[in-house]
């Protein structure tokens, strides 16, 4: 299913939208057997692009996008920010995690248009110039990746997680939900369960996050 999905999304991002925009004219140029050609219904009218401003990594971007564009596709396909990854496109893997107003979310399940007015930070925006974010440094030091595909999502998620711990957000393994939670292996594993690592680099990911969790502010 995810496979099938990736394909549909890709098609949507390119061919289908182009076809929808140019409508019947584009179709007429494709040679078709006569009976098939007459059977094709006219393309439903495309409601048109939406103009929007997205604030990504401290920069304003003016975009004109198909309303169907997810934040993930806007980042990758329209802003060239390919650090954020598409794993499943259905909220099931966490590869697309970004920070929205400092809070971690899945960019695949958000429409770009819904994010106008928000401050979006992707993996590309975490470092301060040449100076890596402490969570990035910690991932490097702990060797917290293998293929690296899940890593941008893991790091953005971990930065968000550290803020949640500070705010006192409980988790499913917090024994007393009324008490302030603290970082521990069990807490980190539970709180990071929304980020799947296909290479199973979990032990080092947990170690990296625990090491960096003190003092994360961004």
């Amino acid at each position: 299913m995810p496979q099938k999905h990736l394909l549909t999304r890709r098609l949507l991002g390119t061919t289908a939208v182009a076809t929808a925009m140019t409508g019947v004219a584009a179709r007429a140029q494709i040679p078709q057997p006569k009976d098939v050609q007459t059977a094709i219904a006219p393309a439903p009218s495309f409601p048109g692009n939406l103009d929007m401003n997205l604030d990504v990594n401290g920069r304003q971007h003016r975009l004109s996008l198909d309303p169907r564009t997810t934040l993930l596709d806007a980042l990758r396909d329209h802003l060239g920010l390919t650090g954020t990854k598409k794993g499943c496109d259905h909220g099931q893997c966490g590869a697309c995690t970004v920070l929205i107003n400092g809070v971690r979310m899945n960019s695949c399940l958000s429409l770009a248009a819904s994010r106008e007015g928000d401050k979006i930070v992707t993996i590309e925006g975490l470092a301060d110039g040449e100076k890596l974010h402490p969570m990035q440094t910690s991932f490097v030091h702990a060797d917290a990746f293998q293929c690296g595909f899940c890593t941008p999502g893991q790091i953005c998620s971990a930065v968000g997680m550290a803020n949640e711990l500070k705010r006192g957000v409980p988790s499913a393994v917090t024994i007393d939900v009324a008490a302030a939670p603290t970082a521990s292996v069990d807490e980190v594993r539970e709180r990071m369960s929304g980020n799947i690592c296909r290479c199973s680099a979990y032990p080092n990911i947990v170690a990296a996050i625990l090491a960096a969790t003190e003092g994360v502010t961004k």
């Binding site: 495309f46 909220g91 819904s114 957000v169 980020n195």
Partner: protein
């Protein structure tokens, strides 16, 4: 995904007015609606983004209720000090659902209205009465391990997926709306969800275009409360069985009051009123707790793949009450 037009609602009245547009739907966090739009199970012609409406507050009323705005994120609900102190079962239910990222994005109103995860509902190549009324139900004879054992009909056995709503059932929450034919109303959660019967596509008693504005929690009943979820992996999975339970004991360790609701097993979040009543006056202990499980599941019907949920639910009910009794005796 089918094409749609998009607008961002600026206030509640404007959102309600726009909902009269053909094929209009509200979108809040989008974590369920957008997911279903990608597979073309949902095909709205017009989206009304309600995410910026001022419905993000959690406030205490003079009567002692806690009102939760429809757009309060699942995380903010679980993290609120009053929720953690007074309604720990709700905080637990919420953090047992989905992932941290999803809970940050998902809203209270959207969580109540999330649709089933039945694989046949998601697969547009299969028949599903919920998706296409009258098409038939592939789950009855199909892979039905995750489906409901309570409240099903010959038209639909899809389980309700929400964790939060199970706790809200046990806490007797009220849902407040704007719009619809009455212009707005209060609906007790017991009257909110519908059994599938022969109209499984109608899941709640909300009218088209009726907007949830808040959820009110009455003061919690006396006793200890918790939420326990059993699932296929330790985290980030829907419930096979979940239990929201409250237990109140008197000095002689007899049950003074109990609340019980179940998730994962019902076609709607499932309140087990008979089981609650049967416990009152009984001596707290394995016998009474096992009986509560048996009464709660008395009307259950397995369809093959989901048969295991019936004994599992009975055991989870008994163990959850036993855990509460232990923690009460420890003070």
């Amino acid at each position: 995904m089918k094409a749609f037009t998009f607008e961002r609602a600026t206030d509640v009245d404007a959102a309600v007015a726009s909902s009269a547009k053909p094929g209009a739907r509200f979108i809040a966090g989008g974590t369920n609606l957008l997911d279903l739009m990608k597979v073309e199970v949902e095909k709205p012609a017009h989206l009304i983004d309600i995410s910026r409406l001022p419905l993000r507050d959690i406030a205490e009323t003079p009567e002692g209720d806690l009102t939760v705005g429809a757009l309060v994120s699942n995380t903010d609900l679980a993290a609120h000090p009053k929720v953690r102190e007074r309604y720990p079962m709700l905080a637990r239910a919420v953090v047992n659902g989905a992932s941290a990222q999803l809970r940050n994005q998902a809203t209270t109103g959207g969580n109540l209205l999330q649709r089933t995860r039945c694989p046949y509902f998601y697969d547009v190549a299969k028949s599903c009465n919920k998706r296409t009324p009258g098409a038939g139900c592939s789950a009855l004879q199909g892979i039905n391990r995750m489906t409901a054992v309570l409240g099903g009909s010959d038209a639909c056995i899809a389980a309700h997926p929400s964790d939060m709503a199970v706790a809200l059932m046990a806490l007797e929450a009220t849902i407040e709306t704007k719009g619809g034919s009455k212009g707005g109303r209060k609906i007790a959660i017991a009257d909110f969800y519908r059994l599938p019967g022969d109209t499984p596509h109608r899941e709640t008693n909300l009218e088209p275009g009726e907007l949830i504005v808040s959820v009110a929690l009455p003061p919690p009943p006396a006793g200890q409360q918790t939420y326990r979820k059993v699932r296929d992996r330790a985290s980030y999975a829907f419930a096979l069985v979940s239990v929201a339970a409250i237990l109140d004991l008197d000095a002689d360790k007899r049950v003074r009051g109990a609340r019980l609701a179940l998730g994962g097993v019902g076609t709607m979040p499932w309140r087990a009123l008979d089981a609650e009543k049967g416990m009152v006056g009984a001596e707290a202990g394995d016998k009474a707790f096992a009986a509560a499980g048996a009464v709660a599941m008395a009307g259950a019907r397995g369809r093959g793949g989901n048969d295991f949920k019936i004994p599992l639910a009975k055991r989870v009910v008994a163990r959850t009450f036993a855990g509460l009794a232990t923690s009460i005796s420890k003070g």
